[in-house]
Amino acid sequence: MTLETLILIGYYVSTLGFFVASLITALAASKFGKSAFGSVFSYLFIGTGIFFVITLFQKLGAEFFGIADESMDIWWHLMFYMALFSYYLGFKALIALGFAENEKQVGAIGAEKAWGVLAMILLVIIFIIPSWAEPVVNQYTASNLAAFGFHHFLSFILAAIVGSYLLSAKKNLGKIGQAIANPMIIALWSLAIQHFWELLSESWKVVEVTSENIEGVEKIFLTIASIAVIAAAFRLKAFAKAM
């Protein structure tokens, strides 16, 4: 089996994985209705849905959007930040629940819908404007900041922040926190390592391998992340079903 075939399999596994996980998380979130937990799991659904959209964006490729490969990299990283921000909002709300003394501190239930709409609009914009925005993106990709790998570094840091919130969830939140914490920690660290790998291989050139090998290793971590997200979604669904 060639490396190209393995990369393709990795792509399909991760795409399908994020799609299935999105569906399951949405079903589980609906079970909690209009509640603080319903709000938290809706954020997780939005984040996982964005990961699915990222895989579609990558499959369409630079040629489809009429942009350079380096620009593709920037656009999907923007979506990656959105996905992680959604997870961050969800887990932050979950942690806040553990310290809420009254209903007012439970958080704004319904804010997840506003974020969902905003995320949808941003995704549509990202699918429409790449060729128009190419000169601006090119300025960044030609900059020292891009050469340093700022976009990879930011992804790595964001994943670590969300991961630390998850550790708190695991300690304080009973069965619900425990159900999703372990697989999501695996998913987030896989994504963090994926970006650390990109930083080392693409930006800093500490590891010198072909671009095909770089992509192959990336797909391994992406596949692990998607499988872990599916596991979290199934655990969440099983938990909601057991009620």
């Binding site: 079970k31 909690f32 209705g33 209009k34 509640s35 603080a36 937990f37 319903g38 629940l97 553990g98 310290f99 809420a100 003394e101 009254n102 209903e103 439970v106 239930i109 304080n172 939140l173 009973g174 069965k175 619900i176 926190g177 909601a240 009620m243």
Partner: protein, 89 residues
């Protein structure tokens, strides 16, 4: 207010607070799984059984098992209103 009425009111408040966190469907389902506790569709307690203290303890244990620290914090302000009623933490 009689002791039973106090338990009814306290447990109803707990279920209402849990409805905000877990959603009404799950909060009420979980309450109905407690032996002796009868709850209507709005989350209002209609009966606490023969041993209200044990019913209350079982209900709190169920919610704590489910969502840990969230419940412990949420219940503090409710129990403050009913100084005569205590349970094990």
């Amino acid at each position: 207010m009689s002791e039973t009425e106090q338990y009814n009111a306290l447990i109803t408040e707990i279920i209402k607070k849990q409805s905000v966190i877990l959603g009404p469907e799950i909060a009420i389902l979980k309450a109905r799984s407690v032996s002796g506790l009868m709850v209507d569709n709005d989350g209002k307690v209609t009966s606490v059984g023969t041993d209200p203290k044990e019913t209350l303890q079982n209900l709190v244990d169920q919610y704590v098992e489910l969502s840990g620290q969230i419940v412990k914090n949420a219940l503090g302000s409710i129990f403050a209103k009913y100084p005569n009623i205590n349970i094990n933490n």
